[in-house]
Amino acid sequence: MRFNVILRYVGAVMLCLSAFMAVSAGISLVSNDAGFYPLLLSALLTLLLGAFPMIFVSKADSITSKEGFMIVVGSWVLSCVVGMFPYLIWGGEFTLVNAWFESVSGFTTTGASILTDIEALPQGLLFWRSATNWIGGVGVVMFALLILPSLGTNKMALSGIELSSLAKDNYRYRTQMVVKILLTIYIGLTIIATLLLKVSGMRWFDAVNHAMSACATGGFSTKNASVGFYDSPLIEWILIVVMFMSSLHYGLIYSTFTRKANNIFRSEVVRVYVAIIVGATLLIGASLYFSDTYENIFTSLRQSVFQVVSLISTTGFATANTNLWTPFAIVILIILSIICGCAGSTSGGAKVDRVLLYGKVLKARLRGQQHPNAIIRIRLDGILQEDRQVNTVTLFLTTYFVLILLGTLSSALFGMDLLSAFSSSVAFIGNVGKGFGAVGSLDNYAELPSILKIQGSILMLMGRLEIFGFIQFLFIRMWR
């Protein structure tokens, strides 16, 4: 394994981050706030960290999968480290642990915050928070692949590691094309969302930040009351559409716009995903209406659909205090926080593809018991799933639940109530950001003990790196 090559490519990612910090510093300069020096110094430090390996290490002709893996995981971890520089230098509520939590939460698009007063933050830092969401949404390495031509032929190796195997299934294109598709849809969706939010009454600054956050399914808002601050049905509907689009497979969105056969309307996964959303919305809406939480059925459905899409897409925007909703609604929302969006999107979590595949495996096993000699093939979106793939998904889901239980146990050990402990673990590993109880939709994680904040940040990283990515990193020396 060539560490110099790994350092060079991780350095390229740092250069990207430095550019975003410089833009944030520019925003601080224009708005004449206290975030300018922290952001400028952070940009310079990150630039140096990124440029230094570039000075010494020449472009590698090829990289091995082990090196590629190290580049991806190293980039994620180091991005989170440099991402906390502006917070640490600015001070305020950001202690070392808080800054690390906020940075990891940003890059992993979790959207959980330790800030008790978000609006007190300078505009530059608010933009940097949203930028971490936006960069993390498409994947820090993928982002570098998108904008750094110097990475050249190694794009394939790196994007192959950054994208999960399920996500790759629906990309029936060459790697260069996949990267271009991601870029086009991601930036296009962000621009459209910004314009629509602006037209619907948001300030330019808020529109850009919310659009970045929604497209990344991150959930960082510039307001303490999140989207609820605006109390505007129009803004809510725009964000519902953007969050929903962002939680679909980008390859399928591209195919739909280019009128290819494998499009959103023909995808089995998308059909199941939409059915889950519609079903959950109706059930929660009815529950809210009949429990007199809201005055009429329309408001109940509006609140219900926003929260359903916000949680299943792993965004975590809030328009209502869901702690006040019925236990039935809360249980459904927790289940949605576990299922999450589609593979190949910006959302995290277990992914609806895996849940669907798991259901098919169960069905196949039952049929196998009834017809022992039958050869039962499992297909997902028309693609035949090999045993290895099926086993991986089963193992992933098992590990996912074990980690949630371990997280719950550990949180309970530090005095959290069961609902808060369980929902926060689900919110961390699924990169949802918002839980229930003490960590509800309008609450924050400021009161969490430092040890639980660190545990939460590890769960967030594990969730973002699809669990095994993170575990493999710990055993990299044993990898042959």
Binding site: L48, I55, I89, W90
Partner: protein, 269 residues
């Protein structure tokens, strides 16, 4: 970038630049911190001094009024006037530099000071009582009664208000002191983070200099020694760039020339 010399120079300059920038920012923050500390300390000492002066002047005035009213010593009137002038000048002095939040308290203090002045100026040891249209009798005023019932409450109001002003003024310093501790953090944080980054850069610098500079030279040297001692082929295993690569190529050429010369001399024999 080509040339090991250039690479090392750029790397070194990067470290210097990093140190300079973080140093300048820390200096800037430290000078702000020093300015703030000085401002808080001077505000605090000014408040203490003025409060002491106000209480002392009020006390002088009370003593003088006691002499005038109870003991009938009219010569203490001058002392009364001096104490009041001192009182007013101190209030005016503190009002100039006081923050907006304590201005209300100072207004009340000025009003109570004006009360003292009014009582002091209007007080007379005798009073004329009209008996009828032709007779006016002059009586001596009960100074002790006037002092206890009229003057002393006004004096106490002034003293209490001065104490309230001191508390309020100190209360105003607390958030500034809290802000100061934040500023201390802000002036130290850039240095600590720069230090962290510099350690990372220095480690990378060491690593790169070792793998691109030291290690290839050691390998070339060992391969050359092996060739000279045991006639092993000259094939050093290290990643080489720039001048080190040139050095390797030149040594390899030299070894090849030496080999061909040796072959020629063997053939000649």
């Amino acid at each position: 970038m080509k040339g090991i010399g250039k690479r090392v120079t750029v790397a070194f300059l990067s470290i210097v630049a990093l140190l300079s920038v973080s140093g300048v920012i820390s200096l800037f923050e430290l000078s702000n911190l020093s300015y703030d500390t000085e401002a808080i300390l001077s505000a605090n000492s000014r408040d203490m001094e003025v409060a002491k002066e106000l209480l002392s002047s009020a006390h002088d005035h009370s003593r003088a009024m006691m002499d005038v009213a109870i003991f009938g010593n009219e010569q203490y009137r001058t002392m009364c006037d001096e104490a009041l002038t001192h009182l007013d000048s101190n209030i005016a002095l503190v009002r100039d530099k006081a923050p907006l939040a304590v201005q209300g308290s100072l207004d009340t203090l000025a009003m109570y000071s004006a009360d003292l002045r009014r009582l002091s100026e209007n007080y007379s040891t005798t009073e004329s009582v009209v008996i009828d249209s032709l007779t006016v009798e002059v009586h001596k005023v009960d100074g002790r009664g006037w002092y206890v019932s009229t003057y002393e409450p006004a004096y106490n109001r002034f003293v209490d208000q001065t104490k309230r002003y001191i508390n309020l003024s100190h209360g105003q310093l607390a958030p500034r002191a809290a802000q100061l501790s934040k500023n201390v953090y802000r002036s130290v944080a850039p240095v600590l983070i720069s230090l962290f980054v510099m350690i990372a850069i220095v480690l990378m610098f060491y690593y790169f200099v070792y793998i691109y500079g030291v290690k290839p030279i050691l390998k070339i040297n060992r391969a050359l020694s092996d060739y000279l001692s045991f006639k092993l082929p000259f094939k050093p295993k290290a990643e080489m760039i720039d001048e080190i690569k040139e050095l390797h190529d030149n040594v390899e050429n030299l070894v090849n020339i030496s080999k061909s010369n040796q072959k020629q001399s063997e053939n000649a024999i």
